[in-house]
């Protein structure tokens, strides 16, 4: 458990677009893994590390996110002192330009609280861990800022942030989306520093007209501060695009990713739905899939992820599919390599075939 630390989750990333999936919601509000939203992982990591003051910032499309977070009770963050704080853009004047003001809410919040340290986490990486070791590393190195990275820099999709480090782990160069990476060390968007330093650097950046806070921006200050890289050796799933999302989900069905992401000793908390148990019919055939509560399955489901309250009609065939909650798939449908968003209806006998390298995406509420 780490003490005296607050958290900031950057719930959206302007560099990442996932088409239909992020049209109605912020990146971190995209459903993941059957019963979660992407933000649940960052939130649970903080809660499981003992962080009790957590702010979530987002610049638009926060309705879906706020529905999900509510009072924070699912993460035990509905507290009298500390707890969960949502920091939407801070509109200070009628001539709101959408610039600068985005950050005033964040800086005002973190200027006034008392914790000594802050952990900032961006939304686009899914990992299940606690930050105890990061804190130990930070103190051992006597670092100003510590940033988490892993070694997938040669194969990860953009945006990548390559860290060039000295032998002692100090960062001496930062490259965003380089053509020829000097290293495979790729930032995971999680950093730790003193809260006062966080506020100081942010204040300075705002005075120069910066409108967005992200870990990459901080790491670039390596000339002025002692910034160290901390290697995360566990599994991290980067959600940088629709394709990356599709691949990450299907990868999470198999070992060892499944255990590393979902079945750790520290749980992943999420909003409770009180669905009925999943019901399997006599004729169904389910293989290599994760199924959530409230599903009613009559057809065949292979290598797929079904969210809550999905119904699959008889003789329907699903292979490599990700089906969000409350979607109904009628009798005799044939779906392959498909992502279907919430509350869709797929009429009887419909055939939707995508490719493993290019899945078909059906937007929220569609009737096919």
């Amino acid at each position: 458990m780490i003490r005296n630390t607050c958290g900031l989750i950057l719930a959206d990333d302007k560099r990442i677009h996932m088409g239909d999936l992020t049209r109605p919601r912020a990146l971190s509000a995209v459903p993941f893994g059957g019963r979660y939203r992407i933000i649940d992982f960052a939130l649970s990591n903080m809660v499981n590390s003992g962080i009790l003051t957590i702010a979530v910032s987002t610049f638009n499309k926060y309705k879906s996110l706020m529905d999900h977070l509510g009072t924070g009770s699912a993460w035990d963050l509905d507290r009298k002192s500390q707890g969960l704080y949502i920091l939407p853009p801070y509109i200070s004047s009628e001539s709101y330009t959408g610039r600068g003001d985005d950050l005033s809410g964040i800086i005002n919040f973190f200027r006034e609280i008392k914790q000594e340290y802050i952990i900032v986490s961006s939304a686009s990486c899914i990992l299940n861990t606690t930050y105890d070791e990061l804190m130990t590393y930070h103190k051992d190195k006597n670092a100003d800022i510590s940033v988490m990275y892993n070694r997938d820099g040669y194969k990860a999709e953009a945006p990548v942030t390559i860290l060039d480090m000295t032998r002692s782990g100090r960062i001496k160069g930062v490259y965003e989306n380089p053509l020829n990476p000097v290293s495979n060390r790729n930032s995971l968007g999680v950093m730790l520093m003193r809260r006062e330093l966080f506020v100081e650097i942010l204040g300075e950046a705002m005075s120069r007209g910066t409108t967005e806070v992200n870990p990459e921006f901080y790491v670039k200050e390596f000339d002025r501060y002692a910034i160290y890289g901390y290697e995360y050796k566990g599994c991290a799933l980067r959600i940088n695009s629709t394709q990356a999302y599709f691949d990450a989900t299907l990868r999470a069905l198999s070992e060892p990713t499944r255990t590393e992401v979902f079945w750790q000793k520290q749980p992943v908390f999420t909003k409770v739905k009180d669905e009925a148990p999943a019901i399997y019919s006599e004729d169904c055939e389910v293989r290599d899939s994760m199924i959530s509560d409230g599903c009613y399955i009559q057809g065949s489901v292979r290598h797929s992820m079904l969210f809550r309250n999905v119904s699959v009609g008889s003789k329907a065939k699903l292979t490599n599919c990700i089906i969000f909650q409350d979607t109904q798939i009628a009798d005799g449908c044939e779906l392959e390599n498909v992502i279907i968003d919430k509350k869709c209806v797929i009429r009887p006998g419909i055939k939707l075939i995508g490719q493993a390298a290019y899945p078909v995406v059906i937007g929220k509420g569609a009737i096919v």
Binding site: G33, G34, R35, S73, L253, R258, F262, W263, P267, V268, F269, T270, V272, K273, D274, A276, P277, A278, I279, Y280, S281, E282, D283, C284, V286, R287, D288, S289, M290, I291, S292, D293, G294, Y296, M305, L306, F307
Partner: protein, 421 residues
């Protein structure tokens, strides 16, 4: 603050007919239907009927129930004004008393009820599976100008001998009440759901308490006394799914109804959700070699073997080559590879050993044979046990630590502590 109606759930009974399942927990805390506990049904019915103040009377093995109900948050009963209250028996200046019986339990909590100064009090039991709108029961009670209203359920002539049977006139007024009659005059069975005018009930409870010959039971004493006094006692006929889960056989049947008669209990009903304390677990996983048919599963299960016509609670693991059929597995059960279960109820966190064969035809000579608790070839394995590999336990057996079995016949390898939630 004044409330029109509050509910009191009698959850203190042992439920001894459930055998080893209730060794360490009261009946209302027994897991049911993959993701529920029995008490979720009356609690959810209360909340869905607009009742926001519920007393839960506990006495027998209260730990599991207390931790499960907690502050009532899962049922939206964590409220500033009202909410869920656990009401154990307590010590007072003139000594202390256990709850002697149902009526005495309510009698001892008169000060609690008076806090809310209610017009009506609804008495419920914590051992039935059903969905009922108590608001409609109250409307009926008021429309009839009743002193008390008892919900009744139509049963067959044969079943009627096992229940408290009401005989009503054409207006629904109860004229006769018989406990387990040999020759039932009617087929309306009491569901153990009583709506009372609080001032009257308070007076009746005080009189009943003073009566040294009374056994202080609603069915045996309070209701007959009201009838003898010629009070306005009405029956409220209930239609829909209702099941008493007081025996191993009825608990098994009621679990199977979820897959065999899903439309009857209709757990998917958005207008009448059954709420429960949710485990924090991932969605369940069905492996490539697994086979799951006609079953109900919930979060945290890992299935590598074959599951047919069974109800699995959260975090159940069925290893490759294991076969689970017609069974009810409670939270955290592990079925090791090669094991075969047929019509078995397994309590929480038990580990079934490799290649164990459990269930099937009965064998009267078997040391675990227990026809008092088990029937219809159902086998009961208690929670918190680790069974030895390669053992055979036939149908109608009950396996628990408390049983006196010769060393050579012992099938239990170790006993673990059963977690309360």
């Amino acid at each position: 603050m004044k409330k029109e109606l509050i509910a009191m759930i009698l959850a203190g009974g042992q439920g001894s007919r459930l055998g080893a399942l209730t060794d360490t927990m009261a009946k209302p805390a027994v897991p049911y239907g993959s993701r529920y506990r029995i008490i979720d049904f009356p609690l959810s019915n209360c909340v869905n009927s607009g009742i926001d103040t519920v007393g839960v009377l506990t006495q027998y093995q209260p730990l599991a129930l207390n931790t499960y109900v907690g502050n009532g948050h899962p049922w939206d009963l964590d409220r500033n004004n009202g909410g869920a209250f656990i009401l154990p028996p307590y010590q007072h200046s003139k000594g202390s008393d256990w709850y002697k019986n149902t009526a005495n339990a309510i009698y001892q909590n008169i000060p609690f009820i008076d806090n809310f100064d209610p017009d009506y009090v609804l008495i419920l039991s914590g051992d039935h599976i059903y969905k009922m709108n108590y608001a409609k029961l109250l409307e009926y009670h008021i429309a009839k100008g009743a002193d008390a209203t008892i919900a009744v359920y139509e049963v067959s002539k044969e079943e009627a001998r096992r229940f408290g049977i009401m005989t009503s006139d054409e207006n629904g007024r109860i004229v006769k009440f018989e406990e387990k009659p040999a020759k039932p005059e009617s087929t309306q069975a009491s569901m153990g759901i009583y709506m009372f005018n609080w001032p009257l009930l308070k007076k009746e409870l005080a009189e009943d308490e003073a009566d040294v010959t009374s056994s202080h039971d609603f069915g045996k004493n309070v209701i007959p006394k009201l009838l003898a006094e010629d009070r306005q006692v009405f029956s409220y006929p209930f239609q829909g799914y209702w099941k008493d889960v007081g025996t191993i056989e009825s608990l098994w049947e009621s679990n199977m109804d979820i897959i065999d008669r899903p439309r009857d209990i209709d757990l998917q009903d958005d207008n009448w959700r059954i709420y429960s304390r949710n485990p924090v677990k991932p969605a369940h996983y069905i492996a490539p070699g697994a086979k799951v048919r006609s079953s109900a599963l919930t979060d945290g299960c890992l299935i590598y073997g074959s599951v047919h016509h069974s109800i699995l609670s959260h975090s159940v693991v069925v290893e490759a080559g294991a076969v689970v059929e017609d069974s009810v597995l409670m939270p955290g059960v592990v079925v090791r590879r090669g094991a075969c279960l047929k019509k078995v109820i397994v309590g929480m966190e038990t580990i079934i050993g490799e290649n164990d064969l459990i269930g099937g035809e009965e064998n009267k000579e078997h040391p675990y044979y227990n026809k008092k608790i088990c029937s219809d070839n159902i086998t009961l394995i208690n929670g918190g046990l680790i069974l030895k590999p390669d053992i055979t336990v036939p149908g109608n057996c009950m396996v628990s630590m408390a049983q006196d079995v010769a060393e050579a016949d012992q099938v239990i390898e170790r006993c673990e502590n059963i977690p309360a939630v």
